[in-house]
Every structure is written in C-alpha cells, then in structure tokens.
Amino acid sequence: MSEALVNFLQQLVNGLQLGSIYALIALGYTMVYGIIRLINFAHGDVYMVGAFIGFFVAGWLGEAAIIPALLLAMIGAALLGVTIERLAYRPLRSAPRLAALTTAIGISLLLENLVRLYVGPNFLAYPEMIKRVNHYFGGVLISNVYMIVFGTAIVLMAGLQYIVVKTKAGKAMRAVAFDKDAARLMGINVDGIISLTFALGSALAAAAGILVGITYGRIDPYMGIIPGLKAFVAAVIGGIGSIPGAMVGGLVMGIAEQMVVGYISSSLRDAVAFFLLIIILLIKPTGLFAEFTQEKV
C-alpha cells in the first residue's frame, strides 16, 4: 500500500476509536434531551467521575481488574446520575428552562471541584488495565487497546439499542419522550422512566471514561469539559433525541477531528467540533437523523 493510503487508514482507525468514545457520551446527552429537553451539562462530569471510580477500583483490586472496574464505575455513575436528576433537575421540571440549564452548569462545577478537592488538580496516571500489544495490518497500527475500546463501545451501544427497541422499559422511554402527559395517562411511571434514562446514559458515560483512561493513560478532574461539549455537538449533528443519530454523530465527529489533527494542525483540535456544529446548524438544524417536527402554536 502506498504511504498516503496507510496514513489515511491510520487516521481513520484513530478517528473511529475516538469517535466511539464520543458516541458513548453523546448517547447520554441525546437520551436526556429527548426525554426532558435539558442540556445536561453535568454529563461530561459524570463521565469524569466514572473514570475516577475505575481508577480507584483498579487501585483496590489490582490493575487487571478491568471488568469489575467497568461494572462498578457504571453502577456508581448510574447512581450519581439518578441522584443528580432527583435532587437538582426534578424540582425544576416546571420552572423556566434556563433555570434548569443553570442548575446543570452549577452541578457540573460542583462535581469538578469536589473531585479536585479529593484528588488534587493534577493529571493522574491511569493504571495499565490492558497490556498493550501492537498489531500491524498492512502497515496500519491497530493495537489491542483500540480493538477493546471499539469493541466495548459497540457492545454497549448494541445493548442500549436492544433495551430501547425491544424491552417494555424502552418502549415506555420512547413513549415518555414522545408525549409525557399522554404517557402518564397510559399508566407509565414517568418519573421512574426519567430516572432510568439518566441511569443508562450515566452508565455509558462512565464506561467511556474508563476507556479514555485506558487509551490515553491519564485523567484529571477537568477532563470532562471539552469531551462533554464535543459529545453534545455530536448529538446535535446526529439529530438530538435520536439514538442512532448520536452514534453516527459521535463517529463523524471523531473521524473529522482526527483528520484535521492529522492533516492540518493539532492546535485546531478543539475548534473542529464547533465548525462542524455551525455548518450542520446552518444546513440542517435538526441534525442528520431527527424526524421532521411541525411547530405547534
């Protein structure tokens, strides 16, 4: 293979791996937005907390404990997400939307600084949960870490898709997102379903946190801000409220970012997301996958 092609494929592989992580975070944003129309700014910090839970579990059970670390972090983050919803968002459900948004920002700052108080402001080296083995496929480097990250992300997304499409709870979730009042009249426990949505989204974010820790080898209390914003943008690109949209949006975002870093300049890394956002908002503001909705007066 020619060098240019190898280089391109390498960027594509890196982009897919990064994008699968964005997609995992974006799912939480899109589900929460779909169900209560709130940009959950604290979601990026739930992802950060998930990474830290994994960090401490690995410190407690040893480096090889990736499965327990993943499970405990997902459970912990799910509990955190449900608690945040119960204490901070539920009382404001009928308040002006800006109040809920501001509260979300407040919760985000609170989580960052509480974690910072506990672990300090510096980077922490993440335990090496997987021994890195490099494989080359026609010159393209695909390490086993990349495969595990991508595979885990795909399995989790498939699991979510199963829950949402095939189970009764998933059906209830879609009903609540479609029309909260009608769902309540049909006997659906709306508050319970909203809690479930937060739990699922937060668990996926925690998994993303651990995968990021494994790939990049370091975490810090502010690691959630930028990926959180980017994942939200990914959700908007895919069409907010749409679960397949978040997956595709995340992958598009990851690949676009990696291509810009590889071919133009790495200092533009953080601007890519927002350029993409502006373009998509100007061309198709509802995103790639959103259904057409008529505005009701």
Partner: protein
C-alpha cells in the same frame, strides 16, 4: 395618581427624575472613591465589579429581555479585549478610541454571528453561540497578531475606577432606556411568544439581531476595559467558564431585571474575592450557592422586578409593606386551594 398630567408636568417630572438619578450616580462615585480611594486593592475590586456590571446587564438584555440563550458572551468580550489591546500597544491611539473600536468590532462580529444563528431556536442557539465563542478563542490562539498562546503582554494599565464606573453607568442607562422604549417592548414580546410577536407585526429577526449585536458591543467594551485592567490579554481568560460567570450573574440577579443584574454582579465579584483565600473551596461554594439559588428561587433573586427610584423614598415604604403582606396572604390562600384539589 389622580391629578391630571399635562405634557409640561410630565416633562418636568422626567427631568427632575433624571437629575436625581444623575445626582445619585455622581454621589455614589464620590462616596466610593473617597472611602476606598486610598486602597488600591479595593479600587481594583470595584473596577472589576463595574466591568462585571456591564457584562451582566448586556447579557441580561439578550437573555432576560429577548429570551435568546447566549452561552458565548466571553467570546465577544475577547474580541473587544484583543482589539483594544492591539491598538494600544501597536498604534498608541487614545484609550477611549481603542475601547470604542474594540466594542464596535465586537458588535459587528455579533451581527455576523447573529444573522445566521438567530434563526435557530432555544438550545440550538445556545450551543451555536458557545461554538462561536470557542472558535473566536481558538482563532486568537492561532493568529500572530494576537500573540498566539502567549497572548498580549505588557498592555498598559489604563483602566481605573473612573473609566469603569462611568462606562458601566452609561451602559446601564442605554440598556434601561432601550428596554423601556417601543424596541424594548418588541423584544419582550419576542421573549414571551415569538410566533405571536411575529403575527403582531414585530420583525423578530431584526430585533433579535439588533439586541444580539448590542449585547456584543457592550461585552466588547467591557472586554477592552478588562484587558487594560489585567495588563495582559490571554486566550485562557475567555473560556466557556467565563461565559458561565456572566450567565450566573444574569440568572442569579433575575432574568429581566437590570437592577438585579447590577446587584448580582457586584455581590458575586465581592463574593469571589472574599473566597479567594480558600482556593480549594471557592468554586465548590460558588457552584453550591448557584444550585441552591436556582432550586429555591428559579426566577432569580429579583425575579423580573426592578428596584426603582420610588422604592428608595421612605414615604412609600408603608405601602410596599402592605402590598407584600397582601401578597403573602393570597399566596397562602391559593396554596390551601391547591390542597383541596383545585388546580
């Protein structure tokens, strides 16, 4: 008021009201500079508070009066800060001209950003403004003229309390007059119901873009002052967190209350200075206070009400007390009604 008001008495009333206001502002300035003039630290905090007043009120104009979610105020501030700093350091034009040109450019960028994005609604607009602010910051980080990651160092220390105080006073005065004009009523109509406003013949795009660039203009003005106060203009001064700081001022003070924003700006500036000694706890207390205020009083401290000149007149206080009592009683009654099952 029962007496018949003719045109002349209205004008004299307005004039005397304006004179009292000007007197109060000058008096406040004199009081502050005489009591704290000797203390450079306090003067600095007061200057910062004045700058925050400008940013808080201009954001409230966009957010609280027109209902357009703007999460990128720091981006416009950055445009003003960079422009003014570059002009001062490289061209040595007068300070006021630099501030004005910075504000003008920020307003122009606000216009450019506003034209395409204001067609978006609510949350989409919020994310687009956030994105634009981030793009402005990354652009500053990558250009030569803005000093890249180093920023612009050695900006002369030109912002003193006098500049900041009077520019803040002028900003508030312009915004209040705008809000109380027919333009302001058009904006409030857009906030209440955009479709209804459009049906009543309000040119919604025009007003949204106008307000957006007005807010950007004042943010740019404040940014210029900010740069000449810190004597350094750096990309990390204009992050998302900075925009949030002003959002907090506008929301905590009460959306749709200029006096609320002014008070919140002053209070929060002093609070964050007072907590500076406890760096670790500072942000936790700040964030916790924000969440608590929102949970207990989601409409903000002032909740859309204004503190007016009449409120300062002790002769009126008895009446306010009566009103307050009546309102509490009726609130209690309506609560009791709820419990009986009437919604």
């Amino acid at each position: 008021m029962t007496e018949k008001l003719d045109r002349k008495t209205i004008i004299t009333k307005k004039m005397s009201r304006n004179l009292i206001l000007i007197g109060l502002i000058l008096g406040l300035y004199a009081l502050l500079s005489f009591s704290f003039g000797g203390n450079a630290y306090y003067m600095r905090i007061l200057t910062l508070a004045s700058i925050n007043v400008m940013l808080g009120t201009s954001l409230n104009l966009i957010l609280g009066y027109t209902g357009q979610l703007n999460l990128g105020h720091a981006g416009f501030m950055a445009v003003g800060a960079y422009t003014a700093a570059i002009l001062t350091t490289s061209y040595s034009t007068p300070f006021f001209v630099n501030l004005f040109l910075g504000a003008l450019l920020a307003g122009f960028i606000g216009l450019l950003v506003g034209l395409p994005t204001l067609r978006l609604r609510g949350d989409y607009l919020a994310i687009a403004t956030l994105g634009f602010a981030e793009i402005i910051r990354v652009t500053a980080l990558n250009l030569n003229i803005t000093g890249g990651a180093l920023g612009i160092r050695g900006v002369p220390y030109l912002t003193n309390f006098t500049w900041a105080f009077f520019l803040a006073a002028i900003t508030v005065w312009i915004i209040v007059n705008f809000i109380n004009s027919s333009h302001g009523r058009a904006c409030k109509a857009i906030r209440e119901d955009e479709i209804a406003a459009e049906a009543m013949g309000v040119n919604t795009t025009y007003y949204k873009v106008l307000v957006f660039s007005m807010g950007a203009f004042f943010a740019g003005l404040a940014g210029g002052l900010f740069g000449h106060l810190l004597t350094i203009v750096h990309p990390s001064s204009f992050t998302f967190l900075k925009s949030i700081e002003y959002l907090v001022i506008a929301v905590v003070g009460g959306l749709g209350s200029i006096t609320g924003s002014v008070m919140a700006a002053i209070f929060l500036t002093f609070l964050s200075e007072a907590l500076r000694k406890f760096t670790e706890l500072r942000m936790i207390i700040y964030a916790g206070a924000l969440v608590l205020v929102m949970l207990l009083r989601p409409q903000g401290l002032m909740g859309g009400m204004e503190l007016q000149l009449e409120h300062l007149d002790p002769r009126n206080w008895k009446g306010y007390l009566e009103n307050f009592k009546n309102r509490q009683v009726s609130k209690l009654r309506s609560k009791r009604g709820d419990r009986n099952g009437n919604t």
